[in-house]
């Protein structure tokens, strides 16, 4: 469902790689590096796949032994943080 109309995407100046479990994000314009922990890296990877937050929560709930309610709160907070940091932006609707 969410993969059909992904609401977020990585900003154009973002470069991202996953090293083992950790994620590394370079904000090219700012020359800033962000290091993400295991779950943060997984969320960014799923965003990059085009999943919307509800889909991400569902995937994480399937992959990790965590409460979905808690996951939803965590993911929402993390997505807001990524937006504030200029890592992701809303997918333009056409």
């Amino acid at each position: 469902m969410s993969a059909i109309s992904p609401p977020f995407r990585l900003c154009a100046d973002i470069r991202y790689r996953q090293i083992a479990d950790e994620g590394i994000v370079l904000r090219q314009q700012a020359g800033e590096v962000l290091v993400l922990n295991e779950v943060g890296a997984r969320v960014v990877a799923l965003l990059d796949e085009g999943l919307a937050p509800p889909g991400i929560v569902a995937r994480l709930a399937a992959e990790f032994d965590a409460d979905p309610g808690r996951l939803a709160i965590d993911v929402a907070g993390f997505v807001a943080e990524l937006r504030a940091a200029g890592v992701i932006e809303e997918e333009a609707c056409s």
Partner: protein
């Protein structure tokens, strides 16, 4: 985990985090110290082979991809390769002599390749010094013009200064020249994880009179840890994930 720890993890895990590709031996200058033997035979990779290589590197978690040469812009398919590398999410560096990088080409480079930085060799603060190395008359003035045009297009670049015979005594002039260049650190912003060990030996650390900050550099100082979910919720999903995966 800090950025440095992550780099160490990549090294220890044999992950080719940074890769340098010498696209071609062709060059439009004739630097006397150049180690590339243009008379050497051989066949360069095709575009399809490069694209396949890029895909492999991405799979291997390579993040930094440096295009070098020769003069990489002399490769007939440089922009095709650069655009492909960009699409695959590499952090692209271009090592160039800047001789061709006029405003039009700089704009194209920005639009199609979007490099993180263009590293340009500058051999001296005067035409006499610079052109003694390049052996091409007019290359100094042309480079300055190109740098100004690159600056106008906000194409991030840094200047590297190979330490060569005939240039060292003139370093004192670097401190007062030039003003208004694209990168205020004028060559001090070397990436901490550059893999060009040979070139590194040539590049002597400049001695600026004062510290300068460069907003366009990916330096140790720029790296910072952002512990996100795990720090705010130390007993949340992250902890559970470790338990389950173990």
């Amino acid at each position: 985990m800090s950025y440095q720890a992550l780099l160490a993890k990549a090294v220890n895990g044999n992950i080719p985090f940074s890769v340098l590709l010498e696209l071609t031996y062709r060059c439009n200058l004739d630097c006397y110290y150049c180690y590339n033997d243009r008379s050497n035979g051989g066949r360069s990779l095709s575009v399809a082979q490069y694209v396949s290589l890029f895909a492999d590197l991405r799979e291997l978690a390579t993040m930094n991809l440096t295009f070098s040469g020769g003069e990489p812009l002399a490769h007939p398919h440089f922009f095709t390769l650069g655009a492909r590398a960009r699409a695959l999410g590499f952090v692209i560096r271009v090592k160039s002599n800047g001789h061709r990088l006029n405003g039009r080409l700089a704009r194209r480079l920005l639009n199609e390749v979007d490099p993180f930085v263009v590293e340009i060799s500058l051999h001296g603060a005067s035409a006499a010094t610079h052109e003694r190395q390049t052996q091409v008359a007019g290359s100094f003035g042309r480079l300055l013009t190109n740098l100004e045009q690159m600056q106008a297009w906000a194409c991030g670049c840094s200047l590297i200064r190979p330490s060569l015979p005939g240039t060292r005594p003139r370093w004192t002039r670097w401190t007062r020249w030039p003003s208004g260049w694209p990168c205020p650190c004028a060559g001090t912003c070397r990436s901490p994880h550059a893999i060009m060990a040979t070139a590194r030996r040539w590049i002597s650390p400049p001695r600026p009179r004062r510290s300068v900050a460069c907003g366009g550099c990916w330096s140790n100082d720029a790296a910072r840890k952002r512990p996100l979910i795990s720090t705010r919720h130390p007993r949340g999903a992250n902890t559970a994930a470790r338990v389950r995966r173990a």
